[in-house]
Structure formats: structure tokens, C-alpha cells
């Protein structure tokens, strides 16, 4: 039976069919739906770990002990998980271990577009790259068997367009979930220097054997075509090349570490002109050049952003491979530019008032990763920085220690899930090194941005079981924070008062702004109404950046279909024109 599946759903299906016993990950676009789908099969144990490093360690443990394991994360998550990854290549596995790295060319939903194919080469693990959902499912199975046969973790590298595109997948029957026997073997699994050196040699041998395998792997194959033009490609770019150059010879690489170097040499020798089409970095191109082969790659194709067939066609036309394109008349020529429609915090979002206040107080605010990063965009503009998960606290501390003018004026904002991911150590450091910073934990009781996943403070697991809830107040106190305040972020007067007091107070403070995300807990409140008499058209309410409020002809109005009655605008309005919703409707 065939089904139309996203790449992520297909990977989940693969894990189910190919005997994965345990799966772990941390939510991150575009990888999140893999575990969400897999957890629905119920036969596979799935969990959200607090961060990617823990998730991979959980997977390594399961695999060493003999089970097949799948670990999922977005590309930047692999940075967090890099430490265990590099040494897991030394130890190897027992049951198969597949690590899914979901890269995001074009940065649809990420802070950078790093090319994680280099991780496979750097860490010396095998890498597979599917180009559609069927391959994504099949490569889970292939990856698990390669992992077991060559005693190595396998990275399954996907990109947004593979993860989130749907195509037909042939479903198979689930196989058994066998657990291989576990034997204690310290020379293999206990990486002290003496044993590490042995495994380093073994790793080199394993990579040699893998390179030989890559030459015959069914996922590396040639599509015979016209020998004037040959294209080497992998992943989604393969689909674009097939679309644009249906007659060309193509070497499709499904296994991209180690590369089948002989196959590449042979392919290069039989075509007149060789191209490599790959998004992001010249990963394939550099290795092809190292073979002394002349190839056109990044001199033609961009190193930034995502490709589509229009771009590939244009570039091949530029290179003279395709006839020059007649410039079609663009139906939009001469039309006004459409104003952007950026994502905004939802109506009733508990974060909104905090950013409004931070901007009013003119504090220096280091931010973090989550919905609340949107609080940095106009008109809220309540955050100065966003670097990586957990960075807000360390950065605030650095500012506090280095720049006297900003001392006592620096605040870190971080979400609950992000705080548990990698904020705790930053806070520990701030306490240890006697910081004066204030940390605001925006506790909306979920991982909102990626679609509301549970975490250690929500009281529920990915499989839907009840779990102990981390008490954030006690956690901060136990780290040594003396001043911990909990506020309702919809009470703006109180929020302002507490932020002012804590910013001025010596030593590190934590403010927990607690209210569930407006999308998971709808308060039954009626919409705000605007008293047209009293509204002076001052536009103060617009500074809240609530999509329910607009001002036309010097009068504010509230869209009753969108407004959830959070009453922030009522508190901001100085003329009393906004009439609050009551807690009934």
C-alpha cells in the first residue's frame, strides 16, 4: 500500500518498520514531526530529552546495549550533541544507531544555515542523504544495517524540503524489535586514552571498509544519459536536476560519507563536462576536486539559500547547457510591492506585555530561541540579541562583568523549555561568579514555537504519560539564586515593578513570568471594545503589536474574532478607551 507522507512521517514509519526500539530527540524545525509521528505507533518507546546532547547520549546507551535507536534534531542541535557524537564514532554501536540531522537551507525557521554534511566527515560517521519520502524511509532501514555492520553511528541528513514535502511511500510490515546481546567490553566502550587510541585505529579501518561499501551501495547510482553533461548531486538537488535536465547523465549520491571516490572518477571520465549541484557549502565539490577532477560547482551555483528548479534552470542556461531563456513577462511587473506579513505573537500571547515593559524601561535585553524571539521585532523591540539556545544568560553575565555602564541594566529573557535545554548552566555560572543580572523565565508551560511539545516542567511526556513537574522556583533557588519572583505577565503594573526592583537589586535575580501559551489554554474572556468617544488615536495600543488591534482614521478598533480578552491593551491605553473583556463569555 502506498501513502502520501512527509519525509518526517516517512522516517518515523521507517523506524517503526525497521525495528527501532528507542527514539529520542529535542524539538526543532524541521525535525519535530519525526518523533511526534513515531510516538503514535506506540510500539516504539519515544521521548523528548531536555536537549540534543542528552537525546544522543540516550540513543548511544540504547544502541550500545543492543537495541536499535533513532535520535532526531535540527541542524543546530547537532552542535549541542557534537560532544557525544565524535566519541561514539570511536566506540561504535551494537544495535544500530541513526542520528537524523534536519538542515534548513534558506533559514525558514533557524538562526543559521550551517551545512551539517561536514559533521559526518569531521566526526567520521557514515552519512545518508534521501531526496524524497520513499528514500527517507528506506534509508532508515539501510542506515540501521550499515550502523550494525560497520559498527558506526549513521547520520541521516535531511533538509527542510525533504522533511516537509510529501510524496508517495510504499508501506511495509513492521519487523521485530530484537535486542542484541550486550557484552561488557571496556576496550571498546570505555574511552580512556589507552583504549581510545585502539578505537582510533579501528575507526580508520572501519572508514576504509565503509568507503569500499560506498562504491557498491545501491543508494549511489548512475542515471545513464547524454554524456555531454554529467551532474553529481545528492538530496533534494537530485530532484531539481532530474526536473531540469531530464536527458543528462547523473551520478546520484545517497551515501555522502564516505564518498564512492572510484565511482566519481569513472563517472567524471565518461562525461565531457562535469557539474556538481548541491545546496549550501561545496561539500561534494571540494572532495571531487581533491581527486584532481575538474568540476563546475560553486562558481555557478550559490553557496547561500535554498535552490528551486527555476534557479537550477537559470544557472544551467548561464553555463550554456540549456538554451538561453526568453525572459517571460512577469505578470506582477509594475504592481505595488506587497507589504511583508511577518509572523507575530498571537493575540493573548503571555509574552507580549513583558517585551512592551522591557522596551519602556530601556534595558539591555539578551534574548533566546522561541516564539518570544519575535518580541525583538518592531514595534515591540524588547530584545537586543538572539544567538543560540541558552545564550541569553551567559551573554547577559558577560555584559554585566565587562561593561560598567550596563551593569544593573542587563536582563536575559529565556523560555521555560529553552531554560531547561541549556539555560541552567548559564544561571549556575551567574550565581557562582556573582552576577548582577536579572533572568526572566517566560514560563508558558510548553515548547510553543515548534508546535507545543512537552518538556520536564509540563508534567507530561511525549508518549502522553504523567511525569514529575520540575519546580522552576525551587530549581533556581537550589542553584543559589536568592531572589526569585513569580509574576503573572498579564499584570503589567506588577511586571514593571518587579523588573525594576530586580534589575536594581545586587546579585542575580530570577523572575518567572508564568502563564500558559494562549494557544494551549484559551481563557474564556470576551473581547475588548473601544469607546470611540475616548479614543484619541494616540496609537499607544499599537505598540503592543497585537494582530487584533488596528487604528484607522484616528480611532482604534479591535477585531472581536481575534481578540481573546487578555486586557493588555486596556492597561496600556491612557484614556480609558479600551473596555476590558469580562471573564465570562
Amino acid at each position: 500500500m502506498k501513502e502520501l507522507l512527509t519525509g518526517n512521517a516517512a522516517i518515523a514509519r521507517g523506524a517503526y518498520e525497521y525495528g527501532v526500539t528507542l527514539a529520542a530527540g529535542y524539538p526543532g524545525t524541521p525535525s519535530t514531526e519525526i518523533l511526534e509521528n513515531l510516538s503514535k505507533y506506540r510500539d516504539v518507546y519515544c521521548e523528548w530529552a531536555p536537549n540534543e546532547k542528552v537525546a544522543l547520549e540516550v540513543g548511544i546507551g540504547a544502541a550500545m546495549a543492543g537495541a536499535r535507536a533513532l535520535v532526531t534534531m535540527k541542524h543546530v542541535g547537532v552542535n549541542v550533541a557534537a560532544d557525544p557524537l565524535f566519541t561514539a564514532a570511536y566506540t561504535g554501536v551494537n544495535g544500530g544507531l541513526v542520528l537524523v540531522s534536519a538542515d534548513d537551507p534558506g533559514m525558514h525557521s533557524s538562526q543559521n544555515e550551517q551545512d551539517n554534511r561536514y559533521y559526518a566527515r569531521f566526526a567520521k560517521v557514515a552519512m545518508l542523504e534521501p531526496s524524497d519520502s520513499q528514500e527517507a524511509k528506506d534509508m532508515v532501514g539501510l542506515g540501521l544495517s550499515i550502523s550494525e555492520e560497520f559498527d558506526i553511528p549513521v547520520m541521516l541528513r535531511i533538509t527542510t524540503r525533504v522533511a516537509h514535502s510529501q510524496s508517495m511511500v510504499e508501506l511495509g510490515e513492521p519487523g521485530s524489535r530484537e535486542i542484541k546481546p550486550y557484552c561488557k567490553d571496556v576496550k571498546k566502550n570505555l574511552m580512556v586514552p589507552a583504549f581510545g587510541r585502539l578505537r582510533r585505529v579501528s575507526l580508520a579501518e572501519r572508514m576504509d571498509r565503509l568507503a569500499a561499501y560506498s562504491e557498491q551501495s545501491p543508494v549511489n547510482f548512475v542515471i545513464e544519459g547524454d554524456n555531454k553533461v554529467g551532474v553529481i548531486t545528492s538530496g533534494i538537488s537530485y530532484q531539481l536536476v532530474r526536473e531540469v535536465l531530464p536527458g543528462a547523465s547523473v551520478l546520484k549520491l545517497g551515501m555522502t560519507n564516505p564518498l564512492p571516490l572510484n565511482m566519481i572518477k569513472k563517472f567524471a571520465a565518461r562525461v565531457e563536462k562535469l557539474y556538481v549541484v548541491e545546496e549550501l557549502e561545496p561539500y561534494l565539490e571540494e572532495q571531487i576536486r581533491m581527486l584532481g577532477i575538474e568540476v563546475v560547482g560553486k562558481e555557478l551555483f550559490p553557496v547561500t539559500g535554498e535552490f528551486d528548479q527555476g534557479l537550477v534552470r537559470r544557472k544551467f542556461a548561464e553555463a550554456g547547457v540549456l538554451p538561453a531563456q526568453a525572459r517571460e513577462q512577469n505578470p506582477a511587473a509594475g504592481l505595488p510591492q506587497a507589504p511583508p506579513r511577518p509572523p507575530v505573537l498571537c493575540p493573548g500571547c503571555p509574552h507580549r506585555g513583558v517585551f512592551y515593559t522591557l522596551q519602556q524601561l530601556k534595558l539591555t535585553v539578551t534574548g533566546d530561541i522561541g516564539c518570544y524571539t519575535l518580541g525583538g521585532l518592531p514595534p515591540l523591540e524588547g530584545i537586543d540579541t538572539c544567538v543560540c539556545m541558552g545564550a541569553s544568560i551567559g551573554m547577559a553575565h558577560g555584559i554585566d562583568k565587562a561593561v560598567p555602564d550596563l551593569k544593573g541594566r542587563t536582563v536575559a529573557v529565556i523560555g521555560d523549555s529553552t531554560f531547561l535545554h541549556s539555560g541552567i548552566t548559564g544561571l549556575l555560572n551567574a550565581v557562582y561568579n556573582n552576577s548582577d543580572i536579572t533572568v526572566i523565565i517566560l514560563d508558558n508551560r510548553t515548547t510553543a514555537m515548534t508546535g507545543h511539545q512537552d518538556h520536564p516542567a509540563t508534567g507530561r511526556t511525549l508518549m502522553g504519560r504523567e511525569a514529575p513537574e520540575v519546580d522552576l522556583t525551587m530549581l533556581c533557588r537550589s542553584l543559589g539564586v536568592k531572589r526569585v519572583e513569580v509574576v503573572d505577565p498579564l499584570d503589567m503594573a506588577r511586571v514593571k515593578e518587579v523588573i525594576q526592583a530586580e534589575a536594581a537589586a545586587p546579585g542575580p535575580s530570577v523572575i518567572i513570568a508564568r502563564r500558559p501559551c494562549a494557544l494551549i489554554k484559551r481563557e474564556a474572556r470576551s473581547a475588548v471594545t473601544v469607546d470611540q468617544e475616548n479614543c484619541k488615536g494616540c496609537k499607544m495600543c499599537l505598540k503592543l503589536s497585537c494582530p487584533a488591534i488596528s487604528v484607522a482614521d484616528k480611532k482604534a478598533s479591535v477585531n472581536a474574532n481575534l481578540c481573546v480578552g487578555c486586557n493588555l491593551c486596556v492597561q496600556v491605553c491612557k484614556t480609558g478607551a479600551m473596555k476590558g473583556g469580562s471573564a465570562d463569555a
Binding site: 510524496s167 527555476g310 505595488p336 496609537k539
Partner: protein, 195 residues
């Protein structure tokens, strides 16, 4: 030989583009199309632009539609119709829901919602269909079925039988909403005839 069709569905988060693309994919599958479909929905919040690229053919490689390649654009909102117009193929068709949803820069007074979008598109594109899907859906019994009104209008343009569409719709929407959705589909399909 199935005629290849590239469809771009554009709108604003929360307008129900995903359901429309699901039903279309199901109907296309039933008649034997190969399908690739790509969705960018970005972050959890509502209110951003959403786009679904749906490609039908005997064999489809790329899941994407490039500028100037869409046979049909189904626009759930006027500004999004304007934004994605460069993706329309010369001679392609565009179906526009006349709803206007102001983005935050417009609400905040930092940008203007362009006037006369539909007229200007009509000046340039021969095959333009404009619907008031929201009003039609309300007449059919539920404002939320506006997406299915638009789906009905799209269905008319594709080489797939009406009964196949009805089956795909029935298999996708919850049974208790089927009646209103069927009515909404009919209204879109017989656009002009009302509910």
C-alpha cells in the same frame, strides 16, 4: 496521459489552506496522479504567510514550484495573491478570495495595504476568478468552510470528476461537518450560482 498541473495555494496562517491541499491531493491520487507537495508553515504562531506547493503529474521530481511556473494560484487572501503573482505561468489562472487580512506592519501604520489589487491583477491576467468565500461559507452555514468554497472553485479547473472530489472531501473532513462542507464545495464549484 495525465495532464501535469502545478498549483500554488497561498494564504494566511489559520485560513485552512492545509485542509484544501489535503483534499486536492487525495482527489488527485484517486485518479492516479503522482504527487509532490511542499508546505512551509514556519512557526507555531498564527498570522504569517503560508504557502502550499502542490504538483501533479505522471511522474513528479521537484516538490517545488518556481516563479512563472504555477498553472493555478488559489489565493485565500488578496495581499497574498499579489505577493505570489510572479509565480503564475503566462496563461495561468488565479482564483482569489476577496478577503483582506491586514498584516501587522499595516495595522501598525508602517505600511499601506495596496488598493485595487484585484483590478490590477485583472488588468494583467486573463483568467481571474474572484470569490467572496467567507460570505458564501456563512450562507452555507459555517464561516470556517470558506476554504472549501475555494476548493470547489479550484476543483472546477482540474481534470478530476466531481464525484472523486466529493469522496476525497468526505474522507478528509469530520462527518459532522460534511454537510456544510458539501454545500460550500457546491457553491464554489458552481461559482456564481450561490448556495
Amino acid at each position: 496521459m495525465l495532464k501535469p498541473v502545478d498549483i500554488l495555494m497561498v494564504g494566511v496562517g489559520g485560513q485552512g489552506t492545509i485542509l484544501a491541499s489535503k483534499v486536492t491531493a487525495a482527489a488527485a491520487r484517486a485518479v492516479g496522479y503522482d504527487i509532490k507537495m511542499s508546505e512551509i508553515h514556519g512557526m507555531a504562531q498564527r498570522g504569517g504567510s503560508v504557502v502550499t506547493q502542490l504538483r501533479l503529474g505522471e511522474k513528479v521530481y521537484s516538490p517545488l514550484i518556481s516563479e512563472g511556473e504555477a498553472d493555478i494560484i488559489l489565493a485565500f487572501e488578496q495581499l497574498e495573491a499579489l505577493r505570489w503573482l510572479p509565480y503564475l505561468k503566462p496563461g495561468g489562472a488565479i482564483i482569489i478570495n476577496n478577503q483582506q487580512i491586514y498584516p501587522v506592519p499595516v495595522l501598525a501604520g508602517a505600511a499601506e495595504y495596496p488598493a485595487g489589487i484585484i483590478e490590477q491583477i485583472k488588468d494583467r491576467v486573463a483568467d481571474v476568478q474572484v470569490l467572496d468565500a467567507l460570505k458564501t461559507a456563512v450562507e452555507c452555514g459555517n464561516a470556517k468552510a470558506a476554504n472549501v468554497v475555494l476548493l470547489g472553485a479550484l476543483a472546477k479547473k482540474l481534470p478530476i470528476e466531481e464525484t472523486t472530489w466529493r469522496e476525497a472531501l468526505a474522507a478528509t473532513v469530520p462527518p459532522r461537518f460534511l454537510e456544510v462542507n458539501n454545500a460550500a464545495f457546491t457553491a464554489g464549484f458552481n461559482f456564481g450560482a450561490g448556495c
